[in-house]
Amino acid sequence: MAKKSRSSGLWYEAWLRFKRNKLALLGLFMAASVILIAIFAPLIAPYDPVEQLIWTEGRQVRLASPSVKHWMGTDIYGRDILSRIIFGARISLQIGIFATIVSLLIGVPLGAIAGYTGGWVDDLISWLINVVFAFPFLLFVLAVIAVFQSPSLRVVYIAIGLVNWVGIARVVRAQFISLRDREFVEAAKALGLPRGKIIFKHILPNALAPVIVQATLGMGSIIMTEAGLAFLGFGAQPPTPSWGLMISEGQKYLSMGKWWWAIFPGLAIMYTVLAFNFLGDGLRDALDVRLKR
């Protein structure tokens, strides 16, 4: 709308701060690489992730060690592990993104209502948040999946989202509580602006920065959770190339010296989780919640 001649919004200034932070840039680069790999998986992957190559290449591709042909080796079914890891990025990111969206869809409105209204509404929502918080994370997710009965990717991200929203809601609630009494909000009330405008134009944009940080840091833990669930058999089902599932299948062969089946997906998880943690930390430093009082 308005031409931004020589103006610098707070978002732009945050970017300038972010740019100076090497670890944050590394996180951004790592996360971007995972995302690009996921998007272009069919173009990058040398093989079909579920194709059992024993039919074309013979029995020697069962559990073959890393070689020029198969950089990360193959598994017992003769599937190329590199290709499975490349496609696995899709699963992890998909879960990470959708579970985060579910968390935001629940957490932001509930946190906003609790923080803005206060009173018994706040008490009720805070009570709910604390109840969900009190449960061990993974156990609660397992319970939710049990309710849906059949584990599928959609069930997994809905289940994770249904538990993960509490962190978001807490952050949003705290932000709304501190912002609703700020003078610029009071000024908006004095101007006679309607409540919707006050909430969406005056409070929410100022509450966003910590929510973004929380959501980004949450991505890492969601991806870990998904891997954990798959490892336990409650997440992605075979032959889906999920990293957690691959570790679960491959760990039996670790003791036989066939390390590549479990180690490479483990490294992939580590890389992705680190990426989002670096990125989240960088965003936190850059967005720094001090609103320049």
Partner: protein, 325 residues
């Protein structure tokens, strides 16, 4: 009722904040931030409201505008009850009564440009045609001493004084009649203060405004007000026309406040009245006259009875037994 005779009249206004504790949020008592305050302001007059921190002057300002719902009492704006006007036609009354805040760093939304800050409500009220909005905003800004090209910047790019000008522009863009100035210069450097005060005075002349000017600084109030009201612990203890107040202050608390004004002459020796002790808690105000624990002239009677605000002539009112029988 006779309230039609004054531009703004506040009657027996009270603002009590409940103190709640424990799981069941039992109300243990009330902070009586504003306790039975009445005053009026005439058209194009400035009433200076003074008092130390925590005496309830800011709360009073907000309660008059009904940003805080009064516990009791009413405010009449041009003869009409503000509360009923708010429920009948909130836009109309909000547009006519505006407020300028103390802290220029907290009162502007950091994520909005000056253009949005000043223009948002103008657009919402449809005060000027869309095509002319930009010109109108520029005009208001330049009236407040800002340049039109400042419109596309964000608040954090400005100094405190400039921000206060933006804050003033935001309030005046709605063409209000009455403005509560809540310590508009207290957060500013002394060098900027007079600029902003002069700006407020000029705008008042130009736009025929009426101010309720809240401050803890008597020197500032002396500069800008027509009449002065002194508040102590939620009550008005003295009110008088400016000249009368500064030449003939009656309440012992006013004496103490006036003696605290610095005089720019190091050789002149003055007797300073140092108030002892702290302001008592408004949750548990002293019985009788609220000033009695700190008053030099406190008598036995002051601890038992509360002195009423009485007329001592020349439009001068004081709540003290020294001046009423």
């Amino acid at each position: 009722m006779t309230q039609a005779s004054h531009f703004l009249e506040v009657k027996n206004m009270k603002q009590y904040f409940p103190i709640r504790k424990g799981v069941f949020k039992r109300t243990l008592g009330y902070v009586r931030a504003v306790d039975d305050v009445s005053f009026f302001i005439d058209d194009q007059e400035t009433l200076g409201l003074v008092g130390e921190s925590g005496c309830g002057k800011t709360t009073l300002g907000r309660t008059v505008l009904h940003l805080l719902k009064p516990t009791e009492g009413k405010a009449f704006f041009m003869g009409q009850d503000v509360e009923t006007m708010l429920s009948d036609n909130p836009r109309g009354i909000r547009q006519k009564m505006q407020i300028i805040f103390q802290d220029p760093y907290g009162s502007l939304n950091p994520r909005m440009t000056v253009n949005e800050i000043v223009g948002e409500a103008v657009r919402y009220y449809g005060l000027c045609p869309k095509r002319e909005l930009d010109d109108y905003i520029s005009e208001v800004l330049s009236k407040c001493g800002m340049l039109p090209e400042h419109r596309f910047r964000y608040p954090h790019e400005f100094s405190g004084g400039q921000r206060q000008r933006i804050s003033i522009a935001r309030a005046l863009a709605l063409k209000p009649k009455f403005v509560v100035c809540d310590e508009p210069v207290s957060a500013l450097d002394v060098s900027i203060r007079s600029q902003i005060l002069n700006l407020l005075n000029e705008l008042k002349e130009q736009l025929k405004l009426t101010y309720l000017f809240i401050s803890h600084d008597l020197a500032v109030v002396r500069h800008i007000s027509d009449r002065v009201a002194v508040m102590y612990l939620g009550k008005i203890v003295e009110k008088a026309p400016k000249l009368e107040f500064f030449s003939n202050p009656l309440h012992p608390y006013s004496h103490a406040l006036l003696s605290a004004i610095p005089v720019p002459d190091p050789k002149r020796q003055r007797q300073r009245i140092i108030l002892e002790g702290d302001v008592p808690s408004p949750a548990n105000p002293p019985s009788g006259c609220r000033f009695n624990p700190r008053c030099r002239y406190a008598m036995e009677r002051c601890k038992k009875e509360e002195p009423p605000l009485v007329d001592v002539g020349n439009g001068h009112f004081v709540a003290c037994f020294l001046h009423s029988k």
